[in-house]
Amino acid sequence: MTVTKTETLPVRSGDDVVRVRQRVRALAVEIGLGLVDQTKIVTAASELARNTLDYGGGGDVLLEIVHAGMRKGLRLTFEDQGPGITDIEQAMTDCFTTGRGMGLGLGGAKRLSNEFHI
């Protein structure tokens, strides 16, 4: 797998979440994803960016365009220096949240992606 393009964006405010979404959409269009896949990855990026902001206290996201043979893809890495997740399995469970959201962000983002690691 080769990486052909990388960029880093900050995630420190609500405006940054919007910017991350716009950038991810632009890259998804650039590598020729269909409308459904664009929407999926943009939504997943939105969930994770908001988690980074709300629970991780802000951080950065690394956007990469990756090639594997004929396939092209987008890899997003969200990084924060927050308190961490005590029980990842529990956090991935739907409807579990330590905040006031719906508790669907992490699980939903996993279902929207082809590969997903915490």
């Binding site: 609500g14 919007v18 979404r21 959409r25 409308l35 459904v36 664009q38 929407t39 999926k40 943009v42 939504t43 939105s46 969930e47 908001r50 739907d94 959201g101 719906m102 669907l104 962000g105 699980g107 939903g108 279902r111 929207l112």
Partner: protein
């Protein structure tokens, strides 16, 4: 001959005023600010005269520090000019060039005044460069600050404009949502909708999300809260404008919208009319029905 740059510069500017002004005006005429038609030549010349006069006085009061008290009135004038240019829509280049185009005329005048005295010429040019660069930068700072003010005001205007509640029929309201739904905006949206339900005695509210580019769990949660609040007020909600890709994404996310939803606003309106005991028919057909 003196080699104090400030003195050389001040003396040259005072003695050679007419020639410098002519050359500066000529340089500005060649620039693009006049051609763009945003400013008249007479107005530009007034500005040129005012700025030059104040520059001469400031230099005569001594010093090259453009941040000093002697330059205060000049800074004010330049700030005014720059602010009005930002609002009139000048490019940054045009605005900065207003100051920077004074360089060449002054350098020329210094050359004439110094003759063969290279030391005094160099000192004068260095002094002129220092003062004019600083003034140019200040002009740009004011220019950018004014631009940001304009952008900030537009942002506020957009926020105020973006959440209308429209009445489609007796007791039927529509709420077309456009753009990003953050917490602040959904608060305004919910407030507007609930108030409109009271004012219009609405039974049905249609929330149209065609203009919302991304529906993630936060947006979905806001929508559900709005629907729940409207229900408490006695109005049913229909969510319309869910595009195919959004529908797929929401299923993957695991969000369940426990409300009636339709693909577009027209369908939602038809449902609302039916529920309130109305129907839309073609005129021709209605006449035939009556026979």
């Amino acid at each position: 001959m003196t080699t104090d740059g400030a003195e050389v510069l001040s003396k040259t500017v005072t003695q050679d005023e007419a020639a410098i002004l002519d050359a500066w005006n000529a340089a500005l005429r060649e620039g693009t600010s006049l051609q763009s038609g945003r400013i008249r030549e007479a107005e530009l010349q007034t500005q040129v005269k005012a700025v030059f006069g104040q520059l001469r006085d400031a230099l005569a009061s001594g010093g090259l520090d453009a941040d000093a008290v002697g330059f205060a009135s000049l800074r004010e004038t330049l700030a005014d000019i720059s602010r009005s240019r930002a609002i009139q829509g000048f490019t940054p280049t045009d605005t900065a060039n207003f100051v920077f185009s004074l360089k060449e005329p002054i350098f020329e005048a210094l050359k004439r005044a110094s003759g063969t005295d290279a030391t005094s010429l160099a000192a004068g040019i260095w002094a002129a460069g220092k003062v004019l660069d600083r003034l140019g930068l200040q002009t740009m700072e004011v220019f950018l600050a004014s631009r940001e003010e304009v952008i900030g005001r537009q942002g506020q205007e957009i926020a105020e404009l973006s959440t209308p509640v429209v009445r489609l029929w007796d007791g039927i309201l529509a709420l077309p949502l456009i753009g990003t739904l953050d917490s602040a905006r959904t608060g305004v949206v919910m407030e507007n909708l609930l108030q409109a339900i009271v004012d219009e005695e609405a039974e049905i509210a249609i929330i149209d999300i065609t203009g919302v580019p991304t529906v993630d769990t936060l947006v979905a949660q806001h929508l559900l809260k709005t629907v729940a609040a409207a229900r408490l007020m006695g109005a049913d909600c229909i969510v319309s404008g869910i595009r195919p890709q959004i529908a797929q994404t929401m299923v993957h996310l695991g969000v369940e919208l426990n409300v009636v939803s339709k693909a577009n606003l027209a369908d939602a309106f038809a449902v609302a009319l039916r529920r309130t005991g109305r129907k839309v028919v073609r005129q021709q057909a209605a006449v035939e029905e009556r026979r």
